[in-house]
């Protein structure tokens, strides 16, 4: 009987789907890269099949699978497979000045929303009731429209201060509609009613999509007689258990870049550095701080809809291995088009007709791929394009930096052969082994996080007690999401005092993270429950 000690990491990107197998010592045993398929699940299935057949892979040892995917984003962008949602806001008579989904693209609003209402209730910033909660209005609304809804999204004013009106509304949904999916805003987003409501509605709409991807993956694994414990990667580069991901699919929506940065950290053993992830179509430059991606202070837009999720703070440029080179040597034009996953047919060095940045890398001696003889008359254009691409990359690096002085850059991703060894502002370029699978490695290194983002009212013992309460809650959330209780640490604390108020109130955001619990036990362990 083989030992049960391996993890399978899968990352679905814009161009390729990557898969790796790591053992319990975090060694990469096998990896695979396949082109994405339009339906995503085909690419996942193929990546699984390929990596399990790779030399070094022993499928029978796999106990856990971790998936980072763009399927949720694509579902929103393409309006595909979205569930129908009844939208309830608890906040009248406040908040009527901006109704739910105001400003959404019309086709997305009509694809997602069955009906929306704003009922009396909600919380004040200091925890009082805004007005009494109107449960009858919720029941009436559900009586009228509930039959057409696959799910219900509930958002109350100041739910981050107290979720009690959301919980009351959820009870009424259960009473009226039975076991229909309910998304509650306090479990999904932070302060900022409209962004949190948007995220909550999207979450309810995406519940089916997450289930489909999970089933497709399970089917692909079952074909190899594997039934590992399944995790999804989320926006901050940490994991959540499958049952958690099925309930909060929107939290997986930006996991790709975070996975690459986490993977770069892991492959190099570095906690603080710059990271350039060069793919087929674009390059993301981000910052690794304290082992995690530095997060943006701005909420992220998904398909034109503002949410208040924190995403990795990235500078993204249209520069990738498949990026098309045009113009002349004096003025090369780089992208933004890319041949994407058709690189192996279209690039010059592979016998194609389209000059790409991969050809530039070969022409300037940075990579030996395909047949350099096929570059021919394009040589000077390609060399000039490489210099121009270096300038674009240097500019992106400079924009993401937080301080003067040179820093190390970790180059990862299949297109990172484009990155030169010398770049302004960079002390050294680190090219880890398995650089081309850093994203899938990042998914598989198995860290789990918990977060708190709420308004606190520091009492007599003030700040300290509020911070302790928030930290404790974040740790509990991390453990609930599957982290090993012995390994959880606070990785980030942010305090933002509320301005223009005479009573002290402070918004506190704490993140805790730790290694996945029970990783090296036999896989009879239960899946960690979601909070």
């Amino acid at each position: 009987m083989p030992s049960l000690d391996c993890r399978l990491g899968i990352d679905v990107g814009g161009t390729n789907t990557d898969a790796v197998i790591l053992d319990s010592a975090d060694r990469v045993l096998a990896k695979a890269k396949v082109a994405c398929t339009p339906d995503i699940t085909g690419g996942i299935t193929e990546a699984i099949d390929t990596v399990l057949r790779a030399p070094g892979a022993d499928p029978r040892r796999i106990t856990h699978v971790m998936l980072g995917t763009t399927h949720a984003t694509n579902a929103v962008l393409e309006r595909r497979m979205l569930r129908r949602v009844a939208v309830i806001r608890v906040g009248a008579p406040a908040t009527l000045a901006v109704r739910p989904m105001f400003g959404w693209p019309n086709d997305l609003a009509s694809a997602v929303c069955v009906a929306a209402t704003i009922v009396d209730g909600g919380i004040e910033f200091d925890g009082r009731d805004l007005v009494p909660f109107d449960g009858d209005a919720v029941a009436r609304f559900l009586g009228e429209v509930g039959g057409a809804a696959d799910g219900v999204a509930i958002t109350s004013v100041f739910a981050p201060v107290s979720p009690r009106h959301e919980l009351l509304a959820a009870e009424i949904v259960k009473r009226e509609l039975g076991e229909v999916h309910v998304s509650l805003s306090h479990e999904i987003g932070s302060v900022g009613l409209l962004e949190r409501e948007n995220a909550t509605i999207l979450n309810a709409a995406l519940v089916g999509v997450a289930g489909d991807v999970a089933s497709a993956m399970e089917a692909a694994l079952a074909a190899h007689e594997l039934r590992p414990v399944t995790f999804f990667a989320q926006n901050d580069g940490t994991l959540m258990a499958l049952d958690h991901a099925l309930r909060y699919p929107v939290l997986t929506i930006g996991s790709g870049p975070a996975n690459s940065i986490r993977g770069a950290a892991f492959l190099t053993g570095t906690a603080d550095s710059l990271v350039a992830d060069v793919g087929g179509t674009s390059t993301d430059v981000g910052v690794l701080a304290n082992g995690f991606p530095r997060e943006s202070s701005q909420g992220v837009e998904i398909g034109g809809i503002r949410t208040n999720f924190r995403m990795p703070d990235l500078v993204t440029i249209a520069l990738g291995g498949g990026t098309v080179v045009a113009g002349d040597p004096a003025a090369p034009v780089i992208g933004p088009q890319s041949v994407g996953f058709r690189l192996r047919n279209e690039a010059l060095v592979f016998g194609g007709q389209t000059p790409t940045l991969t050809d530039s890398a070969v022409a300037s001696g940075r990579a030996s791929l395909g047949d350099p003889g096929l570059i021919g008359r394009h040589r000077s254009l390609l060399q000039s394009a490489a210099r121009r691409a270096d300038e674009m990359l240097a500019d992106a690096i400079d924009r993401v930096k937080t301080a003067k002085g040179d820093r190390a850059l970790i180059a990862v991703g299949g297109g990172s052969i484009l990155v030169p060894d010398d770049l302004p502002g960079i002390s050294e370029v680190i090219r880890p082994e398995h650089f081309d699978a850093a994203n899938a490695v990042g998914a598989a290194i198995a860290s789990v996080s918990g977060q708190v983002d709420r308004i606190f009212h520091p009492g007599a013992d003030g700040r300290k007690a509020a911070l302790a309460e928030a930290s404790d809650e974040a740790v509990q959330n991390a453990i609930a999401a599957g982290a090993d209780p012995a390994a959880v640490q606070i990785v980030e604390i942010e305090e933002i005092p509320l301005a223009y108020l005479t009573t002290p109130a402070v918004r506190i955001r704490v993140k805790a993270a730790g290694a996945l619990g029970g990783l090296h036990e036999r896989h009879s362990q239960p899946a960690p429950a979601g909070s």
């Binding site: 008579p93 406040a94 805004l130 100041f158 302060v191 409209l194």
Partner: protein
């Protein structure tokens, strides 16, 4: 010159108000959504000049008082302004002819439009500050000796208080306390005045100025920051990166400082901003580069989007600009109300254009 404010003008106005907020006044994004929804539901609002209104008609200065963080969670009902107007008319016995923003900087630059759409009255192309300030009596009407009474406040539930005070300072004190009881934010009107008075006692043309600023930024062919500076005659203090942020809250006001480290042509320079809800003072090598009541705004170097004091973060790429304030703030009374000493600094105000020319 009366003009209808279409959605594009409202979007430009929101950008402009954020920049005129000088770091304070609250996020304009929700105010914009409210204005877009109100004008979609009730029809567009007319912007009028004071010369288009009769002398003895009433102008209602109005806005929200309280915490911007409350505002992004507890969005307004939309009918607050209807009650302000009704009670103001009941108490004074005069008809309100138009609404005016008490404060063009930040979210209060948009509130009167939301309410005017419902009421069916125009909005005046003027305000009480030409920027954002934290306190109720820091308005041009106060400097001109206009009585703050009667003050009317209301919330989204329909509670109304009408009160009279012996001074603008007492109005500030009572209104701030009431705003907390209302749940951290409330709608208010004070310093009501006639059209004839308003011609002397307000900062004129600021709504159209904010729209021009917004359009300069959104239609810029090359650098939005450069277009903005050209449009308003602003002074560029530094272009660089935020290299240090220190913030604390005392008595309900965010205080702190921000250091910007120059990059590119400003490489090697360090600019320090002192802030207290708004950006108050810019210092370079111990020398004042700009100060209140002139406007100091921190802009995203690429998009020229204003970055509020609450959202300034380490590592951001910013350009700091300073704009001359309205002359009313440069009078003795103006400096007493909102000059450097009013905010606890021990130096005399020097206009930004003089400070800038002293450098070059």
């Amino acid at each position: 010159m009366a003009r209808l404010l279409d959605p594009d003008s409202l979007r430009a106005l929101a950008r402009g108000c954020a920049i005129l907020g000088a770091g304070g006044g609250g996020d304009t994004r929700i105010g914009l959504l409210e204005a877009l929804q109100a004008t979609e539901d009730y029809g567009p609002v007319t912007l009028v000049g004071l010369d288009e209104l009769a002398d003895d008609e009433l102008i209602m200065p109005c806005g929200m008082i309280g915490a911007p963080t409350v505002h992004i969670e507890k969005i307004e009902n939309g009918s607050e302004g209807i009650r302000l107007r009704q009670h103001l008319e009941d108490v004074t016995g005069y008809k309100v002819a138009a609404l005016m923003s008490a404060e063009i900087g930040g979210s209060n630059g948009l509130n009167p439009i939301v309410w005017a759409a419902r009421i069916g009255l125009p909005v005046v192309d003027a305000d009480g500050m030409g920027r954002a300030f934290p306190l109720v009596p820091q308005v041009s009407m106060h400097l001109a000796g206009i009585n703050p009474n009667p003050c009317v406040m209301t919330d989204e539930r329909g509670n109304v208080i009408v009160f009279r005070t012996i001074s603008g300072d007492w109005t500030e004190r009572l209104a701030r306390a009431a705003a907390v009881e209302f749940g951290g934010a409330a709608a208010s009107t004070e310093y009501t005045l006639t059209v004839a008075q308003a011609r002397e006692a307000t900062v004129l043309g600021t709504v159209s100025l904010a729209i021009r600023i917004g359009l300069a930024v959104s239609t810029a062919q090359r650098s939005p920051v450069a277009e903005l500076i050209a449009e308003v005659g602003a002074f560029r203090l530094v272009t660089g990166k935020i290299s240090d942020v220190e913030r604390r809250t005392t008595k309900g006001f965010v205080r702190g400082s921000v250091v910007i480290e120059g990059i590119g042509e400003d490489s090697g320079r360090l600019l320090r901003l002192e802030l207290q809800n708004e950006n108050l003072v810019a210092l370079e090598q111990g020398r004042v580069a700009a100060s209140v009541p002139d406007l100091i705004s921190v802009l995203d170097s690429e998009t020229a989007e204003a970055i509020a004091t609450e959202r300034v973060r380490y590592g951001q790429r910013v350009t700091v600009i300073a704009m001359p304030c309205d002359p009313v703030w440069r009078t003795d009374r103006g400096l007493q109300a909102a000059g450097p000493r009013a905010f606890g600094y021990d130096f005399d105000y020097v206009p930004v254009e003089e400070l800038a020319s002293a450098v070059t």
